[in-house]
């Protein structure tokens, strides 16, 4: 197939050693004609330094309010192939595991019914099939469901939860992030597919403090693995590491709580009650140290991107959540907590207000109380430093005592 558009600027991006997305668009165009016009329009954007997509646009499949992001060229006459160029968000598997068989089938759908161009994966976690026409959406949807895959979230709905590889291939995992992620995704299908929230809501599950899903930065609800008991130490292996590098410099001194000590005689000692489960020592000596055996998670809330009051990280909501125990009940306790949070959000939140913003607006203390949790010092970096305390009660009828 010969090229429809000249793309001298984009061609520059085929040079260099890193795999080229331009080459990928071209390869997709070999499979799907419409994709040629994408090259043309992107080249024009490169020339003019400005975007050429129209503002938004609602599209979808029957019974679903989300899962498709509408996208329309603002130069449809010039680039008719991408007049409609919607994204289909398809739920990834928990942990992003696939077989070649399944992947081939999944991309075939894209070749046949859309642009043959994908994001593996989107930043939230979905597989994104780019460039679907409205008329093809239902077919695409049905083809994916036949493979056992459903649509992800978009709009004012739950987003596709995502998780780290966890127990499947990581010795640091303190709870089964994949199992929980899958379980929660299945439990909240309705909330994902039918937008009734004030705004989006995201779950991410990382099975230890390394937080390989970056949940603390971008999930409204972050579940991050931790443990209750002591770090397991293999003193011989510690000694071996000591031969490779300076234990004090690279491990002991970098412990944020300064709760470790080492001597050749006494070996490594950890004051576990002071350890904040930061993971550093374990990361540095994975053959010698392991998290404790009583795994669980810390639940945090409220992270989001900057709009509209500045970026946020998640804050501690539940210092220790016994995941394994709750998994036995299909995560009933967790789901109940989530329902309470969503009810509160529904009642007090305004349109386009993420949960983190709402909590800030009403006050952490009030929020905690409303969802039935206790205020705990783990929730704060430090207690208040200003004296403007809104004490809720005062004694009255004191007049006669005066003067």
């Amino acid at each position: 197939m010969s090229k429809k558009h000249q793309t001298p600027l984009l061609d520059e991006l085929k040079k260099g050693k890193w795999p080229s997305f331009v080459r990928e668009i071209e390869r997709a165009a070999e499979k799907s004609e419409m994709t040629d016009d994408l090259l043309g329009q992107v080249e024009q954007s490169y020339r003019e330094k400005v975007v050429h997509w129209k503002h938004g646009g609602m599209v979808g499949v029957k019974g679903y309010g989300s899962g498709i992001v509408g996208r329309f060229s603002d130069l449809p006459e010039k680039y008719p192939g991408i007049k409609e160029f919607h994204t289909v968000r398809v739920n990834q598997t928990a942990g992003f595991f696939y077989t070649s068989d399944m992947l081939r089938k999944m991309v075939d759908i894209g070749e046949k019914h859309a642009s043959a161009l994908f994001n593996f994966h989107g930043s939230t976690g979905d597989i994104q099939l780019l460039g679907a026409k409205t008329s093809e959406l239902e077919t695409i949807f049905q083809e994916y469901t036949k493979l056992g895959f459903d649509l992800g979230g978009s709009g004012s709905a739950l987003r596709t939860p995502s998780c780290c590889v966890g127990k499947a291939r990581c010795e640091f995992a303190n709870f089964d992030s994949m199992h929980m992620c899958d379980g929660i995704t299945q439990a909240f299908q309705d909330e994902m597919h039918r937008p009734v929230f004030n705004y989006k809501f995201k779950f991410k599950f990382s099975a230890c403090g390394n937080d390989c899903t970056a949940s603390i930065a971008r999930a409204d609800l972050s579940v991050i693995g931790t443990w209750k008991d002591d770090i397991r130490i293999d003193q011989e292996a510690v000694k071996d590491y000591g031969k490779k590098f300076n234990l004090h410099q690279y491990v002991i001194d970098k412990c944020p709580t300064k709760c470790m000590s080492y001597s050749d005689e006494g070996g490594l000692k950890i004051e576990n009650s002071n350890c904040s489960r930061c993971m550093h020592c374990i990361n540095t000596m994975p053959k010698a140290l392991r998290p404790g055996t009583k795994g669980g998670a810390t639940i945090l809330i409220g992270a989001k991107a900057p709009m509209v009051s500045g970026p946020r990280l998640s804050m501690v909501l539940v210092p220790f959540y016994d995941v394994e125990e709750d998994a036995k009940n299909d995560y009933a306790w967790f789901k109940d907590l989530i329902s309470k949070i969503w009810e509160f959000w529904d009642e007090y939140g305004v349109s386009r207000e993420r949960i983190g913003e709402l909590i800030q607006r009403v006050g952490v203390g009030n929020f905690i109380e409303s969802i039935g949790l206790e205020p705990l010092p783990e929730m704060v970096a430090n207690p208040r430093g200003n004296p403007f305390v809104l004490y809720e009660e005062y004694v009255e009828a004191d007049e006669e005592q005066k003067g």
């Binding site: 600027l9 400005v50 070649s100 990280l313």
Partner: protein
């Protein structure tokens, strides 16, 4: 178009269960991994309590890929990893092998296909990024182009050269920051710098006025009328060019070729290791868009990496290095100019000032 027939139609099934896609060795040792070793930037091995091993070979991907790219991967997986593979949270591909002897041939074939094996350990990881001019309406810059230009330059750091610690680079094409740009070691952020232009016809017809007004972080969108219908007006001086008004109201386009560009941020992190998670901080307020290869952006990122490599102690993330030497020395080391734009004047800005006489002289 396929007919929508209630009966046949499958809905709300969620994603395919992962159990169907796990390598047998993984299934057997699920939750029983004991330790791992990083043998090279492209290869690590996990060892289970039973002594079983699973090898991971990691491969970089541009993320925006064709079906053919995926099929190439599938062919490799069939040949070397029993058909099993996964993706990482940063869009790398991981082949999962139980046969050690397959590693070398796999690496060889990857090289032939020009696919970069690497990304494990203290390297520059794959750049998390977004849609840009390829697919999003609010983009102030392209995503894939900047990322490609950067990764070509940083290629050596992906496949081999060791850094003091992991370096996570991220790109977002607008202040919506799809991805974890706000908490990356180095972040490149597309920005607008000219207030939105108001198209009253569109505003009155297409926009919900209260939510348009509420969308503004600095409250400079004020109620107005146009032809007797509710509309909005703008106090341009207080606009911080966030583009949120355009997100909720198509009548307020903000993209502008002469003023759009990118800013560069440093020192964010997400992990809880050692220091707490923290936002990336402003390093370079503005660089113009210079497609197709954004040389100024590439240079700025290189400058940071070079200074980091030179100055950081082993084990220090970019932000931890800067915190140790202090921000004044970061600006000295990179040659970046410190301007009033670096001083946070937004909502919680007060919490970022130097309330101490701890000053390096």
């Amino acid at each position: 178009m396929a007919e929508v027939q209630g009966a046949k139609r499958i809905t709300d099934i969620g994603p395919h269960n992962y159990n169907d896609f796990l390598h047998p060795v993984i299934k057997k040792n699920y939750g029983k991994w004991k330790y791992h070793e990083i043998l090279s930037p492209s290869h690590m091995v996990h060892v289970s309590e039973d002594g079983d091993k699973i090898h991971t070979v990691r491969v970089g991907s541009p993320r925006l890929v064709s079906s053919s790219f995926i099929k190439d991967l599938c062919d490799l997986a069939d040949k070397y990893s029993d058909g099993y593979l996964r993706f990482t949270t940063r869009n790398n591909v991981e082949f999962l092998l139980d046969k050690e002897e397959n590693i070398k041939p796999l690496l060889n074939e990857l090289e032939k296909l020009n696919l970069p094996a690497g990304g494990i350990g203290n390297v520059v990881a794959n750049i998390v990024h977004t849609q840009g001019w390829v697919h999003c309406h609010t983009a102030a810059s392209d995503a894939s182009g900047v990322v490609k230009s950067l990764m070509d330059e940083l290629y050596g750091y992906y496949v081999g050269a060791q850094l003091p610690a992991k370096v996570r680079v991220a790109f977002a094409c607008c202040l919506n920051m799809c991805g974890a740009v706000h908490c990356s070691d180095i972040a490149v952020l597309g920005i607008h710098r000219r207030p939105p232009r108001l198209i009253p016809e569109k505003i009155t017809n297409l926009c919900e006025i209260p939510s348009t007004i509420a969308s503004c972080p600095t409250n400079v969108i004020r109620p107005d009328t146009f032809n007797g219908k509710p509309s909005v007006k703008l106090v341009e001086e207080g606009c911080v060019f966030c583009g949120n008004c355009f997100t909720v109201c198509p009548g307020m386009p903000i993209a502008d070729p002469l003023n759009d560009g990118v800013s560069i941020w440093v020192g964010g992190k997400v992990s809880n290791a050692r220091s707490k998670p923290t936002f990336s901080k402003l390093a370079v307020p503005y660089l113009e868009n210079d497609p197709p290869r954004w040389p100024k952006v590439v240079e700025a990122v290189k400058t940071i990496l070079d200074a980091y490599k030179k100055g950081a102690h082993k084990g220090e993330r970019v932000g931890e290095w800067i915190e140790r030497i202090g921000w004044p020395r970061f600006f000295k080391a990179t040659g970046f100019e410190f301007t009033k734009y670096h001083i946070d004047d937004y909502r919680l800005g007060e919490a970022t000032l130097n309330y101490s006489a701890q000053v390096r002289q």
